[in-house]
């Protein structure tokens, strides 16, 4: 099964880098845990993110650590990515991951999930999409929404930094109205897309808009979203991870910005379908979340 691929061949053990050995010995794989994985274990255990090549203080890096720490079954989780700042982190994730094209992440994930269901009918394999707002809401909107319409059993996480950051700070559909960015030199002319509401009307059983200011809240949302996707249908998380570079903040100001936005554009929004609600109640009873 999935966990076997992290076992080191004894013949090579002495030449293995320390971080690979630690993955085998000290990561929080689900089979080792008697309760759900979460951010509590972060300080004592080996993380699934080795390092990252984002800007110093980037909230996206923190959010990714929370996401990885909360995956219910990382040893059987595939993460599908798209082009953008998030793709800078993907080579450092200790899982099977995919970067394909810009915007097709939900289509690729649909194919992967359906085939894994076909090939491994007795094993739960979670498929999670993790991409930025440009990939999710602009260039990939069709594929994002269509995967919701088709009721694909995948979780879509959008790291919403409200800008095309990796290409140098251009306006995106998720940029708030009036904001001056490149390609919007007079300020954005239309409202931020309410993707979390689109997700709900498009068939998601669980849709959240939040910031990454509270690690535990992010972890809880990730756990719930993945379990609902596994059993019921598509789920969506819209998580504010500000681009401190493009909005002129320092490396230590990301958290403050997220906290400010907890009360504004990212005031908590949570939709859970009745089916998902009943299922999550059951999960809680069983100690799965």
């Amino acid at each position: 099964m999935g966990i076997d691929i992290y076992k080191i061949n004894p013949e090579f053990r002495d030449i293995m880098p320390r971080e690979i050995i630690e993955l085998e010995e000290n990561a929080t794989w689900s089979f080792k845990m008697d309760k759900p994985r979460g951010i509590k274990q972060l300080p004592q255990t080996k993380e699934l993110l080795e390092e990252h090549s984002l800007c110093a203080g980037c909230p996206e890096a923190a959010a990714l650590r929370y996401v990885l720490a909360a995956l219910p079954k990382p040893e059987d989780t595939i993460i599908v990515n798209s082009t953008g700042c998030t793709s800078l982190m993907f080579p450092h994730i200790a899982l099977h991951t995919v970067h394909s094209l810009f915007g097709n992440q939900n289509a690729v994930a649909s194919g992967i999930k359906r085939v894994l269901n076909w090939r491994f009918p007795d094993t739960v394999k979670d498929v999670v999409v993790l991409a930025g707002d440009g990939a999710t809401v602009d260039i990939g909107l069709d594929y994002t929404l269509q995967s919701f319409f088709r009721q694909e059993n995948i979780t879509t996480i959008c790291f919403d930094n409200e800008v095309y950051a990796n290409t140098g700070g251009q306006e995106s559909g998720m940029t708030p109205k009036g904001q001056v960015f490149k390609m919007a030199p007079l300020g954005k002319k239309f409202e931020k897309v309410k993707m979390w509401e689109l997700a709900k009307t498009s068939g998601c059983h669980y849709s959240i808009n939040m910031t990454a200011s509270a690690p535990k809240a992010v972890a809880k949302a990730v756990r719930e979203a993945i379990l609902v996707a596994r059993e019921i249908g598509p789920t969506y998380l819209n998580i504010y991870t500000p681009c401190i570079l493009e909005i002129g903040l320092s490396a230590n100001e990301g958290l403050g910005e997220m906290k400010d936005q907890d009360k504004d554009r990212f005031a908590s929004y949570k939709y859970v379908s009745p089916e998902a609600e009943a299922f999550l109640k059951q999960c809680k009873k069983e100690g799965r979340i």
């Binding site: 200790a94 991951t97 394909s100 094209l101 090939r119």
Partner: protein, 400 residues
């Protein structure tokens, strides 16, 4: 619905006996049937133990895609659904293949162009999926008619390209294509082309093996890249692997990766030769000084012209290219020995096959390449048009 758990060492999930491609293509007894290209594709897929297919409607490939759906409903294909558009479909195909499936899909003309970004992605991520391209014209102006201009856009995608002339070849090539594409030292996508309508919609007699046999399943753990299924080391694996790991090594790795994709296409030659009985088929008069270099339906028309010209006392031969990628350069040069004039009849305005031929022959052959005749947008290519071209060339004062 079938489940993969129904598969045994000797039978696939739909109860068909597993056989090798050699047995399927060369040894199994065959009986005669009468069917269209779309219908024969269903028969081919039925015998290929296909894990997954994703579909989208566009004329003229829709019927072929419906029929693969029927195979799914009948339990022969594991996963099948309609995607949102061709860009989505080809991405879904990529996902299916990366997760370890044998996958097939079909498209035509504008659909091919809509999906374009995916084809180099397919070859770059080394998936052995199969696309059946039922060629039609591309916009604008709008046309749904047969025309193979779209193939020219596929030439440098890093995918293998085979071209079937008729219903029988479509059947045999589709089966062989999976096996060649899945060879661990090849392992790149394969595009099997037929001319839309002329093959997809034309009923012909075709010899088929029984449908109680099927190919052994795809073996994803023999692939040159691990399937994305969390079942094969290394645990830390990003597909594609070079995404910004370091901008300082990425130039070199990207370049060598691209070369390797092209080399993989080249390495398919011996396998293709075996299953296709050579990369080029030659008919007509062996020592003729006039040759037609063709592929697909144009080869059929050239053969008719060859027979008619023979009646007029003009000896010709037809060199039918069965693969376009890899391009059968050696076979072509050999077939052109002693040939004075080569004509390249084509179903498109740009003459992409003519350009391919000129590139391969430059500095290597004394043959005078006469491009054409060319038709497009649904025009037919009657033997008379080809004959006229020849007569005007060899007998310029008298004309045709």
């Amino acid at each position: 619905m079938s489940t993969i758990k129904d598969m045994t060492a000797t039978k696939n999930w739909s109860g068909q006996t597993l056989v090798t491609a050699d047995h399927m293509l060369f040894e199994a007894p065959r009986t005669k049937h009468f069917m269209t290209g779309s219908e024969v594709l269903k028969e081919a897929v039925k015998r290929c133990t296909v894990d997954a297919s994703v579909s989208y409607p566009i004329t003229p490939q829709s019927e072929a895609a419906h029929l693969i759906g029927e195979l799914w409903a009948e339990g022969y294909v594991g996963v099948y659904f309609r995607g949102e558009n061709e860009f989505g479909v080809m991405s879904e195909v990529a996902g299916c293949a990366m997760a370890g499936a044998r996958v097939i899909t079909t498209t035509s003309g504008p659909g091919t162009l809509r999906a374009m970004e995916n084809f180099p992605q397919w070859s770059g991520t080394r998936i052995p999926c199969q696309l059946i391209l039922m060629a039609r014209g591309i916009n604008s102006p709008l046309t749904i008619q047969p025309d193979n201009l779209e193939v020219s856009f596929m030439l440098e995608t890093g995918c293998m390209i085979w071209y079937a002339e008729n219903v029988q070849e479509l059947f045999d090539m589709t089966i062989a294509a999976f096996i060649v594409a899945e060879k661990p030292d090849v392992h790149v996508p394969i595009i099997t082309v037929v001319d839309g309508f002329f093959v997809s919609h034309t009923r012909e007699s075709v010899m088929l093996p029984e449908d109680d046999i099927a190919l052994f399943p795809y073996e994803p753990y023999k692939a040159p890249l691990p399937p994305i299924d969390s079942e094969m080391p290394p645990g830390r694996f990003l597909r594609d692997p070079f995404v910004m790991k370091s901008n300082y090594i990425s130039y070199a790795t990207h370049a060598s990766w691209q070369w390797e994709v092209r080399s993989a296409v080249e390495r398919s030659r011996p396998y293709a030769k075996h299953f296709l009985n050579g990369l080029a088929h030659i008919t007509g008069t062996k020592d003729a000084e006039i040759a037609f270099i063709t592929c697909g339906t144009a080869a059929h028309q050239a053969k008719e012209a060859e027979r008619e010209l023979m009646k007029l006392g003009v000896k010709t031969k037809v060199i039918k290219l069965r693969t376009i990628r890899p391009f059968p350069k050696e076979e072509l040069l050999e077939a052109l020995e002693g040939v004075k004039y080569a004509f390249v009849p084509e179903f498109n305005v740009v003459g992409w096959l003519d350009k391919e031929v000129r590139t391969a022959l430059y500095g290597n052959s004394k043959t005078d390449i006469v491009g054409g005749p060319r038709v497009a947008g649904g025009m037919s290519l009657p033997a008379e048009a080809i004959i006229k071209e020849v007569m005007e060339k060899i007998n310029p004062t008298k004309g045709a």
